[in-house]
């Protein structure tokens, strides 16, 4: 029997004027998998993540999450369905404390955000769950710090914990290692290896060392089109990939 994909992208296209950001793209993501998406700047990787997460409307094509067509669902609806994402540039609430960012996401996940009369700061279940999530990314000691005072690496960690708080069925990480030092990158690599069992990961990353250390499958985009897909060995030996992307890395 064929494995059913958690995420299926079917002939997805998106243009900005004359520029084709994604052109007739097909892609699958299966359980227990880290699928890395690589390609030169402007090849359409982030555009694809934005379309999957609902922040950008596709021109044509379909997106399926566990066989449900979510192509026309809003971003917030998709988040509640379990599509969790991190942003290319850290996107957290800087004026909040670390733990309040998690309270916000836990409450958003449960859908009771129009409630006027319960005190979210006194919700013990959320506080306990928030600390559990911070423990995963090793941020418990900064739970009550203002996010604006955190380092770049800690903000990245917080973003990952926010994604995890959504009970994700699918994790979309857009350059999570960007700007991190070696130690923090290694921590992320170890973390992602554990996380993929909970939810498959679609990973956009420029750091090829991390990609090869993590990815079960790699797809390469160029000018919005998929030019290759396979494991590390297949990608490294692909002449076209060498020409448009990996060649530059060397």
């Amino acid at each position: 029997m064929m494995k059913k994909p958690v995420l299926k992208i079917d002939k997805l296209s998106k243009s900005f004027g004359a520029i084709k950001a994604n052109d007739n793209l097909n892609l699958n993501l299966f359980k227990n998998e880290i699928h890395a998406l690589i390609g030169p700047n402007g090849s359409g990787k982030s555009t694809l993540v934005k379309q999957i997460s609902g922040f950008l409307k596709q021109d044509s094509g379909q997106i399926y999450l566990e066989e449900i067509d979510i192509s026309n669902y809003s971003a917030e609806h998709r988040s509640r369905m379990g599509i969790a994402r991190s942003f290319q540039i850290s996107s957290v609430i800087n004026s909040f404390k670390v733990i309040d960012n998690l309270r916000l996401s836990l409450m958003g996940r449960d859908g009771g955000y129009l409630n006027l009369f319960s005190n979210i700061y006194r919700n013990k279940d959320y506080s306990d769950e928030a600390f559990d999530l911070l423990r995963i990314v090793d941020l418990t000691n900064k739970a009550n710090d203002l996010v604006s005072t955190l380092s770049h690496g800690d903000k990245r960690k917080l973003e990952i914990s926010l994604a995890l708080s959504m009970n994700p069925k699918l994790l979309l990480f857009d350059e999570p290692m960007a700007g991190l030092d070696k130690t923090s990158s290694q921590l992320m690599i170890d973390l992602f290896k554990k996380l993929k069992v909970k939810a498959p990961i679609l990973l956009i990353e420029h750091d090829m060392e991390s990609v090869f250390a993590l990815a079960d499958r790699i797809s390469v985009l160029d000018y919005g089109s998929l030019i290759a897909s396979g494991n590390e060995k297949e990608i490294k030996s692909n002449a076209k990939v060498q020409e448009v992307y990996l060649g530059d890395e060397n």
Binding site: R80, F87, M107, L114, N115
Partner: protein, 330 residues
Amino acid sequence: MMSEKKLNFLILIFLFLVPLFSILLNDIYITTLFSKIVILAIAGIGLNLILGYGGMVSFGHAAFFGLGGYITGILAFHFNNYEPIQILVFEFEGTNQLLFVWIFSLIFSSLLALFIGYFSLRTTGVYFIMITLAFAQMLYYFSISWPTYGGEDGLSLSLRNQIPFLNTMDPITFFYICYVWLIIAIIFVKFILNSPLGISLKASKENDDRVRSVGINPKKVKLISFIISGAITGLAGSLYADLNRFVSPTILSWQMSGEIMILVILGGMFRLYGPILGAFFYIILEQFLGGITENWQFWLGLIILLEVLYAKAGIMSFLIKDKYDEKTSS
């Protein structure tokens, strides 16, 4: 310097004792003046919910303030002349009972806020400012051109609306009615700020994308907050009409919107009690500077200019010690 909690407590105690000062100084005008301060503070608390905590710069809150005022005036007008209010084929009696007047003011201000918010919240930034202003100006010109209710001359209330067993014409009684509403507004907004809606509102002020990515629809959050804000401001308008026993298009004008916004900024956005201090200083400056020079607005403008340059967090920030001042005001 003191803690914010202590200052808030002192503000409430001071306001509570105002009628006593008034009696001791044998000047009942002080109580009436502070009734105006309390009413404007309620309007400011309404605006501050969306301006300070939600980042929505509404330059049209006079629409809600004025509507609350006009509903009060119109109900009293029809009560006094025994003519029913006709809306399409329906007829309604007027009333002079404050409880009904407040309920009508709250309902209609909410409905107006739903209407204005629904369209305005499709825009952001300067467009949001302009569209809220445009809606308020539409109502302003409509009120001018509606002779039934006085047009440009406005509408007088022969007596204040009433509450059973209370003499609302007594300045001290009326002051305490306003004071109770101020307490209710503070408690209500405090509840909201600690609620899921409140945390979503504060988050969406800073980062809509983050809010959406955790499953929250920021437009819904903003619209509901806008409606609550409009309702609170509408109630303040209703009290204002009763205080003055007069309502005119002036309270629908853009100057009124500006006045409410100024007292919020003056007292301190992001602070629940900021608009109370703002209203206090605004009215006191108006009285004090107004007694010295006709051009008191010039000096008020200068004070606001200095405040915006050197103390973004408002007068509250001078009086309290709070390590998060800079961060929350950025």
